[in-house]
């Protein structure tokens, strides 16, 4: 039986004028776990991979240890947990085991001391080994990866491990603490493994809440390994594809072939819809009704195997002039926010590379940002400088634009 997930396509404009030229069509594709889905919580298989390099000394390491103990305390006794720490070496503090001996696990975590440099791939690779001991399609298999710094000499190895993890159904959820971590690398690790881009722990006291949220999100998983395929008829090509829910993340152009767009949704959590916005270029069409895209979502239901659900995106071409008010406001709202995210990311990338910003953003981009972000962007546009923490904070807030309810 399917029906665990509903899939819904909405187009930017249901009617478009016959113009004799190419036109852009926006399609929003949303996957939503239905309320009928079994409320049973899937067992968790967690590896907590922690940076304990010298720079973690003090409040950072202390609050991370408290947060890890809290996560372990809240896990079910039948869940599996492992704890791996790395500097330029790696050590398994807790080998993969049932999270039942809370006391013993807690004192193992307490024994962590700071020291050494940062070689993240070592930690990731050993964490993956611990996860694989128990990993199964019936469990939520996740690596929580925490670091405060830049890894030296092994970012490519980190990316390869992320690919391996993704291929075995293990998502990596990176957490960056402080100002020095490499957000491009951590985001990339999250996305490649079908986990999430990095979360920013701005102050040590925020660690508790963020670790707790990792646990809650894993406990809400209802179907696994969701893969969206958007097939396009001839005369329709993809221009862009952007994940817009739960957070905004642009897809690299190489996932767009001429005839289809593939998006990995990973685990679907109860009450958390996932959505992708696809921008299509439609070649001239005569008057009539056409399917411009067909979306198919495949996913795994624990204990039952793979299921599929489909939805079509339909546009009617007409010889009349279609007034702009006919555009779907929900779709346009996502288009606007994805656009703002893309341009703000462009500004930040330029600033990180050159220390200057030449891209001029139109006021209707900046107006949807929060006042602090607006002020910081004005500052860099005027030739001023902002801190590395500010850059991370803007990036983190901008990708959450679609979570804000407005208008």
């Amino acid at each position: 039986m399917s029906g665990e997930v509903s899939l819904n396509c909405q187009v930017g404009r249901e009617r478009m004028s016959v113009t004799g030229g190419n036109q852009v069509a926006y399609v929003l594709i949303e996957a939503r776990p239905s309320s009928a889905v079994a409320q049973a919580r899937m067992p968790l298989n967690f590896a907590l991979v922690l940076d304990h390099s010298g720079s973690m000394k003090g409040a950072k390491l202390q609050s991370v240890k408290e947060a890890v103990k809290l996560v372990i305390n809240h896990m079910a006794p039948t869940d599996i947990v492992s704890v791996v720490i790395f500097d330029d070496n790696v050590r398994v503090i807790v080998p993969a085991q049932a999270a039942s001996d809370k006391m013993g696990l807690g004192s193992a975590v307490d024994s962590i001391r700071e020291g050494g440099g940062t070689a993240m791939s070592l930690g990731m690779s050993v964490g993956l080994t611990e996860l694989r001991k128990h990993a199964s399609p019936a469990m939520v298999n996740r690596m929580i990866l925490l670091t405060d710094g830049v890894t030296y000499g092994d970012p490519d190895r980190c990316r390869r491990i992320a690919d391996d993890a993704g291929a075995s159904g293990i998502g990596i959820y990176p957490l960056g603490i402080g100002a020095d971590w490499d957000e491009d690398l951590l985001d990339n690790i999250g996305q490649r493994s079908s986990g999430m881009p990095a979360e920013f722990i701005r102050r040590p006291e925020d660690a508790l809440g963020l670790f707790q949220r990792q646990l809650q999100s894993a406990e809400a998983v209802s179907v696994r390994n969701a893969q969206l395929t958007v097939r396009l008829p001839s005369g329709v090509t993809p221009k862009k594809s952007v994940k817009v829910l739960p957070i905004i993340s642009e897809q690299s152009q190489n996932t767009l072939s001429d005839r289809q767009v593939m998006v990995s949704f990973g685990d679907l959590e109860r009450d958390t819809p996932q959505a992708t916005l696809v921008e299509l270029l439609v070649e001239p069409k005569p008057a009539g009704t056409f399917r411009v895209a067909q979306a198919e979502l495949s996913y795994e239901v624990p204990g039952r195997g793979e299921e599929k659900v489909r939805s079509d995106a339909i546009v009617t071409f007409t010889n009349e002039t279609v007034p702009p008010e006919e555009a779907n406001p929900v779709v346009l709202n996502f288009v606007e926010k994805a656009n703002a995210h893309r341009l703000v990311t462009k500004v930040l990338d330029e600033y990180k590379k050159t220390g200057k910003v030449t891209t001029r953003l139109h006021p209707n981009v900046t107006r949807i940002l929060d006042p602090e972000t607006q002020r910081l962007l004005d500052q860099v546009s005027a030739g001023g400088s902002i801190s590395a923490e500010d850059v991370k904070s803007i990036g983190n807030k901008t990708r959450k634009l679609t979570q804000r309810f407005d208008e």
Partner: protein
């Protein structure tokens, strides 16, 4: 076919926002009037567009630069050369005009109300409308959406 934002960035019809600067664009693409730019496409039979306030301009494809032709009755397309005292209205020098084979005096756009003509001025590398080569010194009607090519420099002519 393209919509151009106030900073001159060109975007495909139906775009909601400018790709370059994020400006909100008007998504309404007017139904086609006359022959589409591609000569192979079938010609939809539709009445001509109402005479709106025309703002003739050239959009240079390589860099999306927009050259405004409003208020002119004649516009020279070429390359500036102070030595021979040539100062074209549309100077292709900053748009790779020299490498693109644009002559100093290459072609003229003639504007009379809502009527537009293009006349090649015996250029070395010829002038093309929708890939059709023009005979020298022979004014040829052009309209909104036509692709005008000067040597190897491709532009789109827009009036609306």
């Amino acid at each position: 076919m393209a919509v151009v934002c106030s900073q001159g960035h060109s975007n495909p019809d139906g775009s909601a926002f400018c790709d370059e600067c994020g400006e909100r664009l008007d998504m309404t693409a007017a139904p086609s009037a006359g022959v589409p730019a591609a000569p192979v496409a079938p010609t939809p039979v539709t009445p001509p567009a109402p005479a709106a306030a025309a703002s003739p301009r050239l959009i240079i494809q390589s860099d999306n630069a927009v050259v405004d032709l409003r208020g002119k009755s004649e516009a020279l397309v070429g390359r500036e050369d102070p030595v021979s005292n040539v100062y074209p209205d549309v100077d292709m020098t900053p748009h790779n005009g020299e490498e693109g084979g644009v002559s100093r005096i290459h072609a003229k756009i003639l504007i009379n109300g809502n009527q537009y003509m293009l006349e090649d001025q015996n250029s070395t590398n010829s002038t093309f409308v929708n890939r059709q080569k023009l005979a020298p010194k022979t004014p040829t009607p052009i309209k909104d959406g036509d692709e005008l090519r000067f040597g190897r420099v491709v532009t789109i002519f827009r009036t609306s």
